[in-house]
């Protein structure tokens, strides 16, 4: 009897809602019934709302079953699951699901598709083709392609990647480094995680290309400790790449040496800031550095360092493969290419949607997200993590592009979109923004360290009805100070969500709220 391939994701979200139990149940049931199956652990396609999403390969088509529970397994087998049989959980072929096929999967195209830790599968899906092409092109042409693509840092700051790479390539240094920022701390974001769990070799390839382009022979991944599964997958991927000669000295006879070391963060949000991350990589407290010098000139251990986010690095392979112009054909104006938007919070169909810039929040939340999970009206949407503005329903037609968002006092950031329904009290959210800053501030600069605590107090006074007008003015002044005088985005952008609440949801300050914690 032929072997039937069954895909069950080994991915944090899928496992958090039972994927491992399903894998066990499928294996057990197959054994009991004598069915001949091969269980493949892939990453997630990013349609998180359908997790656990199980696929069965039937005549070259992967038939998907969504929201499967371990208790469904016997019934699925009885329904002819192994030949794609009809069942309430059956969604049809994976490549016909609208949520997925209407995306522009430039960077995430292998996620879900391939067996996460199989180098053979990776190689069969163009793996390391871009690295080989980069070696043929030479470093200058690789950097040119990245410049042409218009790729900007996907961690949130949006700095042009090609210019950063050029700066590091031109910088004097006996050693240079590539430091991958995988400290994905913004609430509402999980694209780095989905990429690292679904296509870990894809990240390594991006780092190798970056290293080759700038003349670095050592790379670091700084991964947040809240991602233990990602840590285990990346550890195994790095070891597998080493064993097969895709990392180490003279990679595949190319003459290029490159090693990757994986470091774990330790629960500090501010370590997502690039200089704090470098301090932490050096084994120290994650305290922000003054800039200049830029990390591109004096970065890790004082050496020129490319600091890029996971998605930035992983986007480069296809830029090398298909050309910078092709990537730049997605997107709008100065926001070229695609972004992996992440629909989160109170949304019916949460997950990852990779689309060209220019799509609106409304399209994402309604067409992909299907509105709120609660079915109630949308009251506010926070874009770009805890330092991003809260936008009211009237602003949902703003196109997602870096500049359009800056123009309305907001930011696209890392592409996280957190939806709240009409039960949220926005004064409580403004208070939380200040409180979070107080908890996570590295403490180096006064506006952030002290301002955040004073911010919580001032908001409490406004809500308590104490000299409302005076305290309101004081809060605005405090926001000005934090924005103008903080050392990094932690203190400098905490005012964004606070101001947006003052601007769009001021009425919530007059209704009582409870304190967090």
């Amino acid at each position: 009897m032929a072997t039937t391939k069954i895909y069950v994701p080994r991915e944090t979200a899928a496992i958090s809602v039972g994927a491992d139990d399903i894998a066990i149940a499928i294996a057990r049931h197959a054994k009991e019934t004598g069915a001949n199956i091969e269980l493949i652990r892939n990453g997630s396609w990013g349609a998180t709302w359908l997790e656990p999403l199980v696929e069965v390969l039937v005549d070259d088509k992967r038939i998907a079953y969504g929201n499967v529970e371990a208790s469904d397994v016997p019934a699925l087998f009885s329904a002819g699951f192994l030949s794609g049989g009809e069942h309430a959980r059956r969604l049809g072929p994976i490549n016909e699901i609208p949520y997925l096929i209407n995306q522009d999967r430039w960077t995430f195209w292998r996620c879900g598709l391939v067996e996460q830790l199989s180098l053979d599968d990776f190689r069969m899906h163009q793996g390391f083709k871009a690295f080989e092409k980069a070696i043929e092109m030479g470093p200058e042409s690789v950097i040119e392609a990245v410049k042409t693509s218009g790729l900007r840092g996907r961690g949130g700051a949006g700095f042009p990647a090609g210019i950063k790479w050029q700066t590091v390539a031109d910088a004097e240094g006996d050693r240079k480094y590539v430091a991958c920022n995988a400290d994905e701390g913004d609430s509402g974001t999980f694209s780095d995680r989905i990429l690292m769990e679904g296509d870990p070799f894809g990240l390594l390839e991006g780092m190798m290309i970056a290293g080759y382009a700038v003349g670095a022979s050592r790379g670091y991944v700084y991964l947040r400790s809240e991602y233990p599964l990602t840590h285990s997958i990346l550890t195994r991927a790095i070891a597998a790449a080493h064993e097969s000669g895709w990392l180490g000295d003279n990679i595949q006879g190319s003459g290029f040496d490159f090693d990757v070391e994986l470091h774990l963060g330790a629960g500090s949000y501010v370590c997502g800031e690039e200089t704090a991350m470098l301090e932490s990589l050096e084994g120290k407290q994650g305290i922000v550095r003054y800039k200049p010098p830029l990390p591109a000139i004096e970065g890790l251990f004082g050496k020129p360092t490319v600091v890029n986010n996971v998605v930035t690095l992983a986007s480069v392979a296809n830029i090398v493969n298909l050309g910078g112009e092709k990537y730049a054909s997605f997107g709008v104006d100065r926001s070229k290419g695609t972004l992996a938007f992440q629909l989160a919070g109170n949304v019916k169909r949460g997950g990852l949607v990779e689309k060209g810039f220019g799509i609106t929040l409304r399209e994402l939340i309604d067409d992909w997200g299907g509105g709120t999970a609660s079915g109630r009206p949308v009251k506010a949407v926070q874009v770009g993590g805890p330092l991003g503005a809260y936008l009211p329903a009237e602003q949902l037609d703003t196109p997602l592009d870096y500049e359009a968002f800056i123009n309305i006092g907001a930011m696209v950031g890392h592409g996280g979109i957190v939806v709240f329904d009409d039960r949220v009290n926005m004064a409580q959210q403004a208070r939380f923004a200040m409180q979070f800053c107080a908890i996570e501030s590295c403490g180096k600069c006064t506006p952030c360290r002290v301002g955040s605590t004073r911010g919580v107090e001032v908001i409490d006074r406004i809500v308590a009805g104490e000299d409302r007008e005076g305290n309101y003015d004081l809060l605005v002044e405090l926001c000005d100070t934090m924005e103008d005088a903080s050392l990094c985005a932690m203190g400098g952008m905490t005012p964004y969500p606070v101001r947006s609440v003052l601007k769009y949801f001021a009425e919530d300050f007059s209704s009582a709220v409870g304190a967090d914690e």
Binding site: T12, A13, I15, S16, V17, T48, W49, E51, E184, G185, D186, S187, G188, T189, F190, R193, R224, S225, E226, Y227, P228, L229, L264, G265, A266, G267, S268, Y269, S280, L281, E282, G283, K284, Q285, G286, I287, F301, Q342, L343, A344, G345, N346, V347, G350, G351, L352, A373, Q382, G416, V418, V419, F420, V424, Q429, F432, F436, I439, E440, D516, E517
Partner: protein, 156 residues
């Protein structure tokens, strides 16, 4: 997760596994946490000696990061995400339920369980999310929370 009490010999072996590189301090501390569950004062002294750092430097790093404990935790560690995506799906109510049902406050605990906030588990499309003994759970209603806790045998 099984832990053993801190002992100098094991700690030394762990440090040697990182070639006693001072820049590996954060990574060594993670390895200590995995092995010993917390970082006692003696470990700080030893790290300073063997990594050629000052005690102040090691203490500074231990106290800076949320992950490193300087007191033993309960047998089980329950972390509840308090960040925005989970707030939008009722994490405040879930936290209140956890405090009431476990009988411990946030940031505290007893021999059985330690309850802590966490700011994002990256499971924001399955909010609210919690982490129990290093394993992430999504779509955690109060009922599901009770089931997860009951399965640990740590329910009060």
């Amino acid at each position: 997760m099984t832990h053993e009490p801190y002992n100098k010999q094991t700690a030394s072996e762990i440090i040697a596994g990182f070639d006693a590189r001072p820049e590996m301090l954060v990574q060594v501390l993670h390895a200590f946490m995995q092995r010993f569950a917390w970082i006692p004062e003696d470990a700080i002294r030893q790290l300073a000696d063997e990594l050629n750092l000052s005690r102040a430097e090691v203490h500074g790093v231990v106290s800076y990061y949320h992950d490193f404990r300087t007191a033993p935790p309960g047998r089980h560690i329950v972390k509840i995400c308090q960040a925005e995506a989970c707030q939008a799906m009722g994490s405040r109510e879930l936290s209140a339920h956890a405090v009431a049902s476990l009988g411990v406050d946030m940031h505290s605990g007893n021999e059985d369980v330690t309850l802590e906030p966490v700011y994002c588990l990256g499971n924001c499309a399955c909010s609210p999310a919690i982490m129990v003994d290093g394993k992430t759970y999504g779509r955690v209603s109060t009922g599901r929370f009770d089931d997860i806790v009951a399965s640990l045998g740590a329910s009060s």
